[in-house]
Symmetry: C2
Amino acid sequence: MRIGILGSGIVAAAIGSRLVENGHEVMLGSRSEKNGKGVDWAGQHKINSYYGTFGKAAAFGELLWNCTAGAHSLDCIQNAGIENFSGKVLIDVANPLDFSGGMPPRLTVCNTTSLGEEIQQLLPDAHVVKALNTINVELMCNPTMVEGNDHIALICGDEGRSKERVSQLLLNEFGWKAETIVDLGGIVHSRSMEMLIPFLISIALKNGTYLNGIKIVSLLHAYGSM
Amino acid sequence: MRIGILGSGIVAAAIGSRLVENGHEVMLGSRSEKNGKGVDWAGQHKINSYYGTFGKAAAFGELLWNCTAGAHSLDCIQNAGIENFSGKVLIDVANPLDFSGGMPPRLTVCNTTSLGEEIQQLLPDAHVVKALNTINVELMCNPTMVEGNDHIALICGDEGRSKERVSQLLLNEFGWKAETIVDLGGIVHSRSMEMLIPFLISIALKNGTYLNGIKIVSLLHAYGSM
């Protein structure tokens, strides 16, 4: 499959590399055509790895990822051209974080809206699925690094079929287990997924590592199931 | 010990009852002296259970709890008289939630501040410890209801000795296990503890029960520990 990734940082590179290794054709997109990180990343792979502008990557991909810094994602997507997202699934991994005030970071949007929702509003003809934003880059494609591999991968989005595609991708391409992929519901739940980040940072600071996962344990005699 | 609880709702009643059962003298405080729920609660216990105004409860307790609705907590505490908190530990269980716009609820403060921090600012001579705000009322004093009893109880606050007192209380009076009590650090981490609530509501809606707990799993060969 042809996959376009907006962004050329470590998240874009990690996801892109895994997808190239799995046999997909991947283009990383940046604001400038010849972004150094994009060029370097493409050079690391013998085949199927490309770089270009945001617009070229968005036009290239049948499936798209937003791996840009969350505080700038809306601008990057607009720069890529709204029409290039039409009818496609966009997996939004970004968190709208502002570290300029120190730790803990501030979310640039939260509580009554979220980046996931704002992207969906900007792209009414695309199917935005929020996923992996709560997972450290080293764990995204390597969930078994954490003991038991039974920590959760949250997803949300408004269209069931698109979420099913993303679940299958997490399962088959990234190594997540089906029972740990938790679909929270509509894209409105991006709010809670993004508002988890300050907590995960608190835990990382406490725990001395960002390589942590969340598990949910329920009532002994649960009347619901995940 | 004499314990004052601001609030007379289900959280105040559950915590108050457990503390009375454990042999403490407990007063529930409300805006009005003879709040029906406070009167009813006191009537359910043969001894050591009292009710009164916010001010009387705050003056009564050597240890204090804030179990008021978070959107009104600052007002309730001011009503109780700032001087009544001086030198005391105040355990803040509240969440600043506004359900008026439907689900998911909005936090009335978040991101760059939190209720826990604002209470500490209002009460510079008290030691505010945020605790149990992420735990459903049925689980607060009964953590073993959830399988394994290894879900976490988060706490934070600026004074180590006060947090140690609260940890001992959770351990000895409420049945939490020492290794599951996670001290996130200073009261600033109230932000992440309160911003967890939208996620916990998403999970509850998904899971069909509010009786859920969080566990943190870390890197297989963790170089930090909880």
